[in-house]
């Protein structure tokens, strides 16, 4: 039994839709704090003189400052502190893996539970959105035209920062909606599209124009864009699905997570036939992988009517890369986790449909390059699992289309583009890059941070007047 004092200092749980109810709808699961809860949670922060939380944040959000302003009731001040280093707080508050970043280092976490920094971030950002977003003063136009390729977190951030400084920014987006992975990848129940739309509105108010249905590499090449714009920022992310290359993978009913999620999120297939795009998910679904995309796929499958959904993961619970909250939510909703299990074939019938997967049990061996223990197949442990739908959520790689006719743009192994992480500069003069296209699939916050770094370097480059020879170091580039 907790003492009164402990209770008073307990972290405030996030109000959420009931698991049974939400597993049948696409509305947002986490409902957000109300003002009283937010202030109470903010009061838990002990305002460290040397705040460790900030060092855990990829963009060094001014966490203690915004929390202090929040509990003092100065909401606009809280917004200002929060947005000083983070241009997409309503999104990051929802999708950041706080438990392995800011909250992991919160001093309160050593003896109890850390301050719910992410939830407070979301509260402040949502409050701002409800007030109607204030558009900051925009510097007079400097006439410098910048093309931002991709309207995901990296591109939105770079575009916003540059527009504020007076650059004339065109975002070129391949799809018909803005937001990139925030729109096609992350489901409504985790990140309502209205939140993304508000950020996009904000950019438009800053004077950014968004040109849809422009596939760079196809409609224009990077080489052509460099002639039309003084600077180009590449933020095309990692949109190409990785499949397993196992037998039966092309059977009907095997999806890449990208396909399932794009149908559902971008094309609104959950509302077929009111929306034209269909999606077919059977009664028993296996999702292979255990990252956020796997959780999103599994939970989407439940909402589409699947009776039983399994996460099939070759490592153990300890190595699961998804956010803790997503795993928790998935379990509450009834997703079954099969750890140390790896599919080796998809089984089908004569009609070309899926009837199951053949799996093998795994054990964990020595740590591999990623520092995680390498899964090793246990000989003779093969078994079959009866499913009619399989979703491959094994990660993504950068889409190579953007590299067509991009002479001089050096790429690393794995299809990423070589860029200096300190500046975003690529090997091609006046071309910057940031986000998943540089790092491989990572997080929204790191992409946002990279967009910010590049915007700042672009500005430095042009401020310098006639800058010297283009220097793009190849150091600090991840293998």
């Amino acid at each position: 039994m907790a003492t009164g004092k402990e209770q008073a200092n307990a972290r405030h749980a996030m109000p959420a839709q009931d698991p049974q109810v939400r597993a049948c709808n696409f509305d947002e699961v986490a409902l957000g704090y109300d003002h009283e809860m937010a202030v109470e949670e903010a009061l838990r922060c002990i305002q460290c003189r040397r705040p460790l939380c900030v060092t855990g944040c990829p963009v060094q959000v001014r966490i203690p400052e915004f929390i202090k302003a929040l509990r003092e009731g100065d909401m606009w001040q809280a917004v200002e502190f929060l947005k000083d280093n983070n241009s997409l707080p309503a999104i990051c508050g929802r999708v950041c893996p706080q438990e392995s970043q800011c909250e992991a280092l919160c001093i309160l976490g050593r003896r109890g539970e850390p301050v719910a920094i992410g939830r407070l971030e979301r509260y402040v950002a949502d409050w701002e959105r409800e007030q109607g977003v204030r558009v900051p003063e925009v510097a007079p136009s400097n006439g410098i035209r910048v093309a931002v390729i991709g309207s995901g977190p990296a591109g939105l951030t770079a575009a916003g920062d540059l527009a504020k400084k007076g650059y004339q920014v065109d975002i070129l987006e391949a799809l018909h909606e803005p937001g990139g992975v925030l729109v096609y990848g992350i489901p409504e129940f985790r990140l309502p599209k209205a939140v993304v739309a508000a950020e996009v509105d904000y950019l438009r108010k800053l004077g950014v124009s968004i040109l849809f249905n422009r596939v760079v590499g196809k409609l224009y090449s990077l080489t052509e864009l460099r002639e039309q714009y003084q600077a180009v920022f590449l933020g095309t992310g990692a949109g190409l699905p990785i499949m397993m290359s196992i037998p039966g993978e092309n059977l009907n009913g095997v999806y890449s997570a990208n396909e399932l999620l794009t149908r559902v999120n971008l094309m609104k297939a959950f509302d077929f036939p009111n929306w034209d795009t269909p999606v077919r998910v059977g009664e028993r679904v296996a999702v292979v992988g255990a990252g956020n995309v796997a959780m999103d796929s599994a939970r989407s499958a439940l909402r589409l009517g699947a009776k039983e959904v399994h996460i099939v993961y070759r490592r153990s619970r300890e190595e699961v890369p998804a956010r803790a909250e997503e795993v928790e939510h998935a379990e509450e909703e009834g997703v079954v986790f099969d750890f140390l299990t790896n599919p080796i074939a998809v089984l089908g019938n004569e009609q070309g449909g899926v009837t199951g997967i053949r799996c093998i049990r795994m054990t964990l061996g020595e740590p591999d390059d990623s520092g995680r223990r390498r899964p090793v197949p246990a000989e003779g442990s093969e078994f079959e699992m009866g499913v009619d739908t399989v979703v491959m959520a094994l990660g993504t790689r950068p889409n190579p289309l953007v590299f067509i006719e991009a002479d001089g743009l050096e790429r690393a192994r794995g299809g990423t583009v070589v860029a200096d992480l300190e500046t975003g500069r690529t090997t091609l003069e006046r071309v910057w890059a940031g986000g998943d296209i540089v790092t491989g699939a990572a997080t929204v916050i790191s992409a946002m941070g990279a967009g910010r770094v590049a915007a700042s370097d672009i500005d430095a480059f042009f401020q310098a007047g006639s800058p010297g020879p283009w220097k793009a170091t190849k150091e600090d580039v991840p293998a």
């Binding site: 993978e249 890449s256 889409n399």
Partner: protein, 284 residues
């Protein structure tokens, strides 16, 4: 943007649209396609770029009214706009001076081979085309095809127009009569399979354009997976053209049918709504 400038009924089931798309018109090459969304809640469907006019800033596409989306597209009138138009997508046809080439277009495939014939002819090939349909009323663009070919052979399954034959019959004859350096077959999947089977014994290089189900058309989703030579490719970015003799046809047929029930349901619903619309308008 994406304004329909003209619309022409070609056959009872096919319609030609000239669409304002200056950037695409400038960049498009033979063999490429666009992804169209007809309305705001619409699906993304691939349509081959059948012609383009860079000076006028237009592209021409031909759609067959087989599903709800193409039926809805048919309702659009000149002056109306598409919700979105993305392209040019896919790899262009490899245009070289091969010598004598035969292009087989079945049904809607006639529109697809049109720009390829033109490009191959411009590259100095002797271009022979075989166009076919089930019956004469389903044929279109005979005149336009004559302009981009050296020889044009017209066939129908029922003999109601042109020669009564399947497209593979004159194809086989041509291969036996003379040196044919390359063949293209574009049309229904089953036709492409038989074109492939026809040329294979003679070892004539044959290219087909695989019309698998697509969503984004940019390599993002993999819905369009095809197996060619035992390897998996995404038709949207690795194709749509592939070596016919290496294609796993059964897989293509099966994957094309995956959403058949949903497509049927959407069409039924569309037809019901069409009937319901006049009443609604009366009520207003």
């Amino acid at each position: 943007m994406y304004c329909i400038l003209s619309k022409k009924t070609l056959t009872p089931v096919t319609t030609e649209y000239v669409i304002e798309a200056p950037e695409i018109a400038r960049k498009a090459r033979a063999g490429q396609f666009v992804i169209v969304r007809v309305h705001e809640r619409g699906e993304r469907i691939p349509l081959t770029i059948a012609d383009r006019d860079a000076d006028a800033g237009t592209i021409t596409v031909v759609a067959q009214e087989i599903g709800a989306t193409s039926r809805r597209m048919k309702e659009l009138e000149p002056g109306d706009s598409l919700a979105s138009l993305t392209g040019p997508l896919g790899r262009p046809t490899e245009i070289e001076r091969y010598g004598t080439v035969v292009l087989v277009g079945g049904g809607l495939g006639i529109a697809a081979i049109h720009p390829i014939c033109q490009a191959l002819r411009d590259a100095g090939n002797h271009v022979i085309a075989i166009i076919g349909a089930r019956s004469g009323d389903l044929l279109f663009w005979e005149d336009r095809m004559r302009q981009v070919t050296d020889d044009l052979i017209v066939v129908t399954d029922d003999g109601s127009y042109g020669r009564k034959a399947l497209v593979t019959v004159p194809l086989k004859e041509l291969i036996e009569e003379r040196q044919i350096d390359r063949v293209w077959g574009i049309g229904p999947a089953i036709m492409m399979k038989f074109v492939s089977l026809t040329t294979q014994p003679y070892g004539v290089s044959t290219i087909v354009s695989l019309n698998s189900i697509m969503v984004d058309g940019t390599g993002m989703c993999g819905a369009c997976r095809v197996s060619v030579g035992g390897r998996t490719y995404f038709a949207c970015v690795d194709g749509p053209e592939f070596d016919a003799h290496q294609v796993d046809w059964d897989l293509l047929f099966s994957r094309q049918r995956f959403y058949a029930d949903e497509e049927r349901r959407a069409l039924d619903l569309y037809e019901e709504n069409c009937k319901a619309i006049p009443e609604q308008e009366d009520a207003r």
